[in-house]
Symmetry: C2
Subunit: 290 residues, 2 copies
Amino acid sequence: MSARLIDGKAIAADIRADLREQVQRLPVQPGLATVLVGTRPDSVTYVNMKHRACAEVGVRSVRVELPESVSEAELVGRVRELNTDPQVHGILVQLPLPPHIDEERVLAQVSLEKDVDGFHPVNIGRLAMKNRDPLFVPCTPLGCIELLRHSGTAIAGRQAVVLGRSNIVGLPVALLLLRENATVTVCHSRTRDIAAVVRQADILVAAIGKPEYVQADWLRPGVTVIDVGINQKPDASSARGYRLVGDVDFDACRRVAGQITPVPGGTGPMTIAMLLRNTVRAAQRQVQNG
Amino acid sequence: MSARLIDGKAIAADIRADLREQVQRLPVQPGLATVLVGTRPDSVTYVNMKHRACAEVGVRSVRVELPESVSEAELVGRVRELNTDPQVHGILVQLPLPPHIDEERVLAQVSLEKDVDGFHPVNIGRLAMKNRDPLFVPCTPLGCIELLRHSGTAIAGRQAVVLGRSNIVGLPVALLLLRENATVTVCHSRTRDIAAVVRQADILVAAIGKPEYVQADWLRPGVTVIDVGINQKPDASSARGYRLVGDVDFDACRRVAGQITPVPGGTGPMTIAMLLRNTVRAAQRQVQNG
């Protein structure tokens, strides 16, 4: 028996195709501004991917690039300019920011209506509360939920285990799963006997940042596995000298799981699709609210 | 074998005694304002208890009482007046508010520096994020953590199970336990086989609002039980016709648990002690910041 693959690449392509049509029906062209501080190679890569995806669905994209040495005041000033720019409907501040800048203070300056990354403290606060709706939900966690939906995995009443408690993935995905009525357990580096906890899971979201960490004998047969990890593993047979692997030992785990996302081609494309969707929704809402 | 009682009443009395000394050393008298809308008997009781506790430790307290029919705008106006009142260091809006008022919009108007109830959406957002510190943490969840500390229960690395996911207790206590490095599971009305999940717990926080719901055979022997429930149970032998019981079947569970809080006299007094502590800290901070 081999797990059914959850094809994030194909699902994301369908979402982008749908968004392209929605964009054509809008009276304005949705605009996304990215704010990149410094030249971290991974951040540069992510920002480039986002701009390419915008172009594909017809979203206008604007780059703001600032030197690593930029002051917090100057960065905040740029964010505020974007807040008042009527051609910009969504603002994404690429994280992480350099250590001399207070991340929360900057994110709190993004207009709630343009917070397409969902990291404004008020949007996070709403995500953590029942009966309050964040205007936007962080893209990677939202992508995980979409993958579960598209794969036909029931969430309500099931035991979900989240490995990792980062602000960007683990915590918000746990909050989202709870909103979907899962029983949710959050594990992390301090958890004792992580294998025993994972073995309870009907749904496993792995976002712990350790290559091929989750072993096949930790899994309950039939579990749905969403692998958020993107790690480089040395591989002499690859031209780059490495290949990308997730937080799950894919080849072994796919023999036990019921459904599993591949890396790459699982959660990665969904993150960008959710960013585009948030941006298009931001534009739709701003058009409605005139 | 009978569980050791975690005596919230005694621990809260010690905390109040300590706060009384801190208040005497402050150059200003700390002030707490309560805002009560309507005349719900339980809300009136809670507000009265808070004022009595303030008097006991030397905190000045101010009552704002508004009719059930008050408009949101008028309520917000009163909150803003309290924000600028230099004699008021902490503001508590008694929940729940009537249905015609948007609770989050009102709570968001409380100055972050005076949010001694910890329910401002930004304080909740910070509570949900690593490396961000809320200025204040909601009082009942904070009281649960204090009871664990005072009882000598280790939290880091242990399996904590939270029954209930309310905004006021379940969710914030889960976030606090996670910050204390517990492995945290949140259960609720949609959880399947809640007994099996509870059986994993080294620490159980019951906040599900069902009288004597947790059964002795759900418990792992030695577990520490924090019972946040306050329910009325008909009792002909009582002059009031009822007695207060928690969410845990106390008489049976105390034979299995290692430590357990009684109801009343467990989490209830701690909630008020934490409100006083938050108010005194608010005054200390406002004095320091001139």
